[in-house]
């Protein structure tokens, strides 16, 4: 332990600590343009495969292919694992056959599985073909588990020990093994039917006497994961229970693999990203996608929005006489709709996130709903007063202010209700609440907002 007293430095915001610097990027682009392979290799040498993958994602297709051609046999299998799905196929297509073969053979079988998941079938076959026979069998076996399941995520190599062994037995066994996994953190104790019954951390194993029974050292909290479990649930379990690694079991409870926290972290990050993008009406999209791709991906969401906007317009058109009589209504009506849409987005996002983190459950749904509606009512009342005053002063019509204020309260209450009820209902129906909440919820607040404001105006002002 160091005893240096902590210095009082300010927090260092290393935005660029891990990003490729523009200078480095420029030099690499230069080397690619000049076709200078030795310089390119020297420039890329210090980069981690994950950084090289980022670099490839940031290049246009032309320079990307030239870089791959120049980089040649230096191309590492891990780069393929790190690549974004959106350009993985493109990069694989650009690799020379022998480079691809070498790259894929370098990978552990679980990384190959991960690689294959998002490729089209011909590319999958091309990769399976270049694998050695034993690896191919392992990969095909893993691919038999459902998409996005724990079985796909796990690595098959597990370090196990019979539950009756001592520390000495285990250490001797480890020393004698010549193909231990690259990274492992626990020895899994199994019963005679190969069902995991506990695990021992390597730290405890190292510190204990040789005669200590392994069973005396097992971790107090131990969980197994069913191979068919959704990887999203796996990530949740790792985060909730601070697991480092967990054995994966088949339907009979037998050990079939192990999942480690680094894989769970990647899944959690992806799931968070998916929710964020879905809520914004963007599908599975990445910065590396091409223009036509993103135009096509966003089109359906905009089309849905157009439908809901037209619905709102139909509501407005019912009040054309009121609008013709009082143009001030046309000036103010977007305010009601916009405030409702914003309040609804707030409630909805909190609800969608609560469902994702399982903080919003059947046990507290009613309480959360009540809270949202009351909070919306409070803010609605405050904004009603503010807007009532503004409306009155602006147009010199006190009753217009009253109508505006009343519509504001109604729309914020509806926003609070819809913001919680829509995601909860979608979740009950087995639909990802992030997927469709936005369109539903803002339709509700638009329609209600326009209807309340113009309807009240028709009654009170005409």
């Amino acid at each position: 332990m160091a005893d240096a007293p902590p210095t009082d430095d300010a927090l260092r915001d290393d935005e660029d600590a891990y990003a490729l610097s523009p200078d480095a990027m420029r030099e690499i682009r230069d080397a690619v343009e000049q076709g200078d392979a030795p310089r390119l290799t020297a420039l890329m040498e210090p980069l981690h495969p994950a950084d090289i993958a980022d670099l490839l994602e940031q290049l246009d297709q032309g320079p990307r292919h030239r870089l791959i051609a120049l980089y040649g046999r230096e191309f590492d299998g891990e780069i393929l694992s790190e690549l974004d799905d959106s350009i993985r196929e493109d990069v694989i297509g650009a690799l020379a056959p022998d480079v691809l073969t070498d790259a894929v053979r370098e990978l552990e079988s679980d990384d190959v599985v991960d690689l294959l998941e998002y490729l089209d079938e011909p590319t999958q076959e091309a990769i399976l073909e270049v694998l050695e026979a034993s690896d191919r069998v392992a990969v095909e076996r893993a691919m038999a588990w459902p998409d996005q399941s724990a079985g796909r995520l796990m690595q098959r190599e597990v370090v196990t020990a019979p539950e009756r062994w001592t520390v000495g037995d285990a250490i001797d066994h480890l020393r004698a093994s010549d193909d231990l996994p690259d990274q492992f953190y626990h020895v899994v104790l199994v019963d005679p039917r190969h069902r995991p019954v506990g695990h021992v951390t390597l730290g405890k194993l190292m510190a204990a006497d040789r005669v200590t029974p392994l069973a005396d050292l097992v971790e107090p909290s131990f969980r197994t994961i069913p191979a068919t479990q959704d990887e999203e649930d796996v990530a949740y379990a790792f985060n909730q229970y601070h697991l480092i690694s967990a054995p994966v079991v088949d339907d009979a409870g037998r050990l079939v693999g192990v999942i480690t926290i680094d894989d769970a972290m990647i899944v959690m990050n992806e799931e968070n990203e998916e929710d964020l993008l879905l809520l914004a009406g963007v599908g599975d999209e990445s910065i590396a996608d091409r223009t036509l791709q993103i135009a096509r991906q966003r089109f359906p969401w905009l089309l849905v929005n157009l439908g809901t906007a037209i619905l709102a317009s139909v509501v407005i058109s019912q009040f054309d006489e009121v609008l013709a009589a009082l143009v001030a209504l046309a000036v103010l009506m977007p305010i009601v709709a916009s405030m409702g849409g914003n309040a609804a987005t707030q409630s909805m996002t909190v609800a969608v996130r609560g469902l994702a983190t399982r903080d919003l459950t059947g046990n507290n749904a009613l309480r959360v709903l009540r809270r949202e509606v009351v909070a919306a009512g409070i803010n609605g009342a405050v904004f009603a007063v503010i807007m009532g005053v503004i409306g009155t002063i602006w147009f010199g019509l006190p009753m217009l202010g009253v109508v505006l204020g009343a519509a504001m309260v109604i729309n914020l209450l509806v926003a609070g209700l819809a913001g919680v009820l829509v995601p909860l209902t979608l979740d009950r129906l087995g639909i990802d609440p992030a997927l469709a909440s936005g369109a539903f919820v803002t339709t509700v607040t638009d329609v209600v907002g326009f209807f309340a404001f113009l309807g009240l105006a028709a009654i009170v002002l005409l």
Copy 2:
């Protein structure tokens, strides 16, 4: 390794696999109401501290305090660590002094630091006072590092070995230590000035011969983390480089602690949540917050939105004569604004996420901007045709359709531009791009949308 062939089960969507069942919740509520302490303790016995924390978050304050009183000395320190910040203070206040003392003393010093970070000062002092002297010193030393820095996140206990040692030396040393950290995954090699020079996984240590120099076993990729680094950057590094643990160093490069991936995973999840909530115009909010709290937290965001909505209304009011002459404009104008707002949200969310994951950098900003604008132009053209036709048919005015279509193209182009430029600019200015993008971007599209549509109408139709 098990050789059971994978079964062909469907993916298991274990939504409720790790959530407290409504039945269990009901029984616990019952036991609390009846003041049945033994039954409560029995019901809570199988729960992980993280689940107990969730349970407390889902209860109202009254039952929560009754549960805590009944549960009494069973209350585990880890529950405090797992609690959401929003109710931690409340729970600490509800604990009997002796229960609090026991709970806090059970915790590792880095967990105490984590606990203190979000408490007010009197509660901090109360907790520091009950710590044993040595722990208090350790905690105060950690608290001297900046908020949300690697120094706060790290644990101080590190297992080290001089760089010249062999495997045998290290194992003998580990066996002789009687206070090894609870969880550790690497032995960190240090030079004579206590600067980390590499690390060896415990797995490699176990498998190697006693005479092997540790230096021969170091991991190929090794990174140290400055103690003053922002925890967000730390989480990024763990995710990007698949680190399991990384030594933390002070300004002189000396080892001061170690960060493990489970802590990084928690930070990453929190950062993702923060971005999601900020984009929706919600501050640091949780499902456990109370009604008044959430009303107050959301108010400023709604107020900003009100300001921008009024700005849009002012734009509309410039065209009151046009609106009075043609009510159809009032009916259709929300469509232009809504489509622009949606397209902008799409571009903006992708940009904000790209900045957070560092996939959007100075190196590809121009390319991304070009792509967004072209994609927006393509979708704009398609929707212009659709809306032109609808507008013409609905109101029987071909020129109205043309105006609507033209306004649609203009607004979607602006949405694409603003959606990328606003987050990029905020990021350059050192402002969290998620914080203010929403308000800025939708103001731009509202104002431009209304101005384009009504302005064109004024020119063409009157």
